[in-house]
Symmetry: C2
Amino acid sequence: MYEHTDVLKALNVSKAEELLKEIKGKTPLFVCTIATTETAKIPGISAAGQNPEFTDLTPPADTEFLYYGRCRCISGVPVTPDGIPTPAIITRAAINLSNIPMLVVDGGSRVKPQIPFIDVGGQPGMDIRTSKAVKDVNSVFERAKVLGKSLAAMSDYLVLGESIPGGTTTALSVMLAIGIAAKRRVSSSMPNNPHELKLSVVNKAMEVAGIEEGELAGEPLKAIAAMGDPAQVTMSGLVVGAAEIPTILAGGTQMAAVLAIVDQIDPSARDRLAIGTTKWVLRDPSSDLVSLVRQVGDVPIMAANLDFSSLKHSGLRAYESGAVKEGVGAGGVSISAMTMTSGQITMLSLQQEIEREYERILGGKAS
Amino acid sequence: MYEHTDVLKALNVSKAEELLKEIKGKTPLFVCTIATTETAKIPGISAAGQNPEFTDLTPPADTEFLYYGRCRCISGVPVTPDGIPTPAIITRAAINLSNIPMLVVDGGSRVKPQIPFIDVGGQPGMDIRTSKAVKDVNSVFERAKVLGKSLAAMSDYLVLGESIPGGTTTALSVMLAIGIAAKRRVSSSMPNNPHELKLSVVNKAMEVAGIEEGELAGEPLKAIAAMGDPAQVTMSGLVVGAAEIPTILAGGTQMAAVLAIVDQIDPSARDRLAIGTTKWVLRDPSSDLVSLVRQVGDVPIMAANLDFSSLKHSGLRAYESGAVKEGVGAGGVSISAMTMTSGQITMLSLQQEIEREYERILGGKAS
């Protein structure tokens, strides 16, 4: 059995423990939502790629990697400018061990992944400084919602992950617009969280849209349409549609935004939600997931206690210095992989598999 | 419990009974593959629509109806030229009663449904008389196969249905190309099966492609590329990918083609397959499902013993005169709805629900 210390709990600890008991031995469905935006191309906003244009390729590359163990739309795997690999490595390692089933939903990506993916009618997001960030929010929300309902009928519980570059900036803007005090509290995939840059982009977006902080409280789809991203509306629809089963929002502070959005659309859909993330987000000194979530409600937060400090490869050890931290459902899928088996998958075996995946990539082998 | 007589069995009766025992109480995943072709627009080939161009709308309309209880891309529901309604009515009624989860896969349709659907990279099919009927068969097959593997990880068993106008003609051409004696054995959604028209189209396709009957035995993807349809390659990939769980091929003689294709790609994938259809196909005097299946192997055939002869509405009673017969997974989903519950869903309650659905449509109400 995985150790008590393998999953950290925060905020509503007793509900986190109840949930861990409820999902023990059960198989989740992992649903990874992808999207791209022009916002992510603002220099300095996203670390997901060597250069801004590369952000269009990160989500398809991440999900191709999950399916095939190699990317098709790029050679190699997505890395930060410093060469630190995508968190999809963690997700894939957890899936390798657990055989957790997976579906990819395209919330709106410019480059389509060369995998089977679910289309909900979304389009790539624009720059939030245009005040027209996301098209068709109502119809995408409705389609994601009926999809969520279908997925709930086929699963014990859902784990919802994401791959959307620049997602913490759009999380910040939507949270501010709907009344969550989010300034300097969102996370970053870079060790030096560019809070001032994000805030200046978001302030500009609010100015262009003519929206004050908190002005769109109760109208989260309007906030997304003006200054959010396509993954937010897709994931919110999925959560509301799947409200009858538990859902783990598998991600960092972007998922606090989804939680806040869902809470303002349908508060009852919040009851069966938890955040599932990594230790690197939960203990990140440059952001504050707990305070973001607490503003929405007493929602359990769980974090996979991944520790890369003694791994062989510097590319992985860099996670301990604040690089990457989370993404592609890494934390939530790790937690589920450990809870679904009794003893076979531990944090130790997971970390060994992550090293194997990393070495396989370095060696350039497909599987 | 549903009556023994509610599910007819043919060919491998003992294996059909074993399978019915195995799936009893279990929840399937219903996967409906849609596609359109230029072949379907050849006058007289398809009854799926008032006029040939309407065939592009039938698959999206069918699946919109399954999701929402009404179509979005057309007003009303798909009907034959005589006004007989789509078999999606049967499927939806069975899902209403059973809550069987559902996903739609777009094998290649010209008009996309306004629902969540899975994209496997397929494109609409061309006229088989061009000898270039289906593009990218290898990549679509591979994507459908990885999708099938994912679906198998999340389901007890699959029920695969289809909505593709003109599908029996492309079934005929592929079966002939790969060595199945299919002449005058495929079914039709029309009471008067236009065998001669279908054969003349198929003969022309073979002539253009320079292919003799049976010449592509062992090369079914090549046969599909030349003179098949996009749903065939998609469904075959799904079946091969999901080979570790049972799959009910929910359809008529089109599914005999899928069975033959799968058998020639990976014979071991055939072991867990069954055909699930309707009485109207199994007992159709103008076609011969059993002989088609028997040529592939000793595969169980099950048929929902739907009987519309005493229903109030002539549009439904027309099914007893050979109109429509099957489609959109109607037979297989009906069987699964009955086996998954103990006693709640019987052929009688299903038929009552079908009448209710039909009356709801006539009344124009959404749900």
